[in-house]
Amino acid sequence: MTDKEKPSKSATKTATPAAKAPVKPKRQPKPLRSGQSIVPRESVASTALIFVIGIMTFLACLTLGAVSMVNTSAAKWQNDISREVTIQIRPFDDLEMTKAIRDASNIALQFSGVSKVTALNDAETARLLEPWLGAGLQLDELPVPRLLRVTLADGAKPDFVKMREQLEAQVPGSTLDDHRTWVDRLTTMALTMVGIGSTVFLLMMAATVTTVIFATRGAMAGNKDVVDVLHFVGADSKFISGQFQKHFLILGLKGAACGALGAIILFVILGIWSSSSLATPEGDQISALFGTFSLSWSGYFWMIIVLIMVAILTAVTSSITVRRQVNNLQNYRK
């Protein structure tokens, strides 16, 4: 290709080789490269896909955040409640209360995990009964049951069934209240919430994967020309699917980053707002019912994990889809 021979002048009046036709002014050298990857970055499907992935990630993060908050609150309540159990000793005529209290404490203290047993004094018991019996109650005038507060070590789970048996056998009139109803209720509630949240989360991930498959197929269809041309110039399927994979990993990362960031910002704002409004009575009510809106660090951490997961999921899903389709194309009989 070294001979830059000039074509002989044509006989017709139209002819002049185009290569030298227009007299052009000297210009700045322009970049040879478009800066584009081989699969066009800005295609229709891309924007839509980033959007979908963004929204899905955002909602997945919201779900995760909500589950995490419920979990934290529930754990706190559960912990508060289950760190104490109560022994009630109902007064019988022939019962010597002081001895009964001593017996009951001794029994309770035998169990491992029980760190302390305190008998509520009269004032405390009176306060408990105030709503029913009014203020200024003289307890010793009344056959009111006495309460023992049994404090448990953190996380300990003594054998309440055995404790109850022993108490009932040895201290007549005593009952053990391990708040099982409350604990059960809270556990159920937390589990339900976590279950619902996880289901929603999984649904979203499934939807994301489906969307990515659809979008990849769409992108492949939209870039069929590109794939064809790449084929004809001798690219192998690894090269081609590599191009698409790169493309989709970037798309996934972009979308997921937008979504997760959005969710994180939302939670930060909610946190600030709720801590500023917690001073009001309404805020109190809300925080009593729902816990605070401030997400724990692990919540944010999990959102980052979701981000990465979504990006990887996008890349992997699209990679599988692309490879399958490219192999179909690669096949001689198409």
């Binding site: 830059k4 080789p17 040879l32 584009q36 084929h231 004809f232 110039v233 690219a235 090269f239 690669q330």
Partner: protein
């Protein structure tokens, strides 16, 4: 532009035996085609519009499989070629499509360099070659623009440059001068002839009688699905 000959010692680059082609349930577009493309040969493929020239080129390119008959490329029966082997074969075939098939989002330079890029070559190694070739086809000052702003003839020349850049063993060109003026057509023909001299087999599908008259070569004429060969 030194060309290596086929190392495996195969005499025929492309050979068709009783090939027939039919699209779907349509009529037979090509029937009972038998011919060979020898190494270092030059031939025109001609015939009226719709005769099946593009279809025949696609068969040679393995982008279409025949309804019946045998297509052999580089000595291999087409239907036995595994997908993994395809790219290796395609790299030995240069193609100029009738509709150019340039990638609109890449510059002309990048389009022409694409075959080298997919072969994993480094940009600094081929940059000068690509520039030289673009200069030669008269696109020296259009190489940084994207195909949509090229004129019809400029697109065609870019497509030709892309087919030539890696000095293929076989060049299949579909109507390569349909959009350029006669002097430029002659210039392009000379380029093909030179390529042929350096060892490449060239197949040019064209309607252009004046182009064919300029170079005495084998002619494959398609008519009503049949092929007549004038050596």
């Amino acid at each position: 532009m030194r060309k290596f000959l086929d190392e495996t010692g195969i005499a025929l680059l492309i050979s068709f035996e009783n090939v027939g082609l039919r699209y779907g349930i349509g009529p037979e577009v090509l029937s009972d085609l038998s011919f060979q493309v020898a190494p270092n040969s030059f031939q025109f493929l001609t015939g009226p519009s719709g005769a099946g020239k593009t279809s025949l080129l696609r068969l040679m390119l393995l982008s279409l499989s025949p309804t019946r008959g045998l297509v052999k490329v580089f000595g291999k029966e087409a239907s036995t070629i595994r997908p993994e082997q395809m790219p290796i074969i395609r790299r030995k075939i240069g193609v100029v499509f009738q509709d150019f098939r340039l990638l609109d989002h890449l510059t002309t330079y990048e389009n022409v360099a694409l075959p080298l890029q997919v072969r994993g070559k480094m940009e600094q190694d081929y940059r000068q070659d690509v520039r030289d070739l673009l200069d030669w086809v008269g696109l020296g000052d259009r190489m940084h623009v994207h195909p949509p702003v090229l004129s019809g003839g400029e697109k065609q020349r870019a497509a030709i440059a892309r087919a030539l850049i890696d000095q293929p063993d076989v060049l299949l060109a579909d109507e390569p001068t349909g959009n350029v003026d006669p002097p430029l057509a002659r210039r392009i023909l000379r380029l093909f002839i030179e390529l042929h001299r350096s060892g490449t087999s060239v197949v040019i599908a064209t309607h252009d009688l004046s182009l064919m008259d300029q170079y005495d070569a084998r002619r494959l004429v398609l008519n009503s699905g049949r092929l007549q060969i004038y050596d």
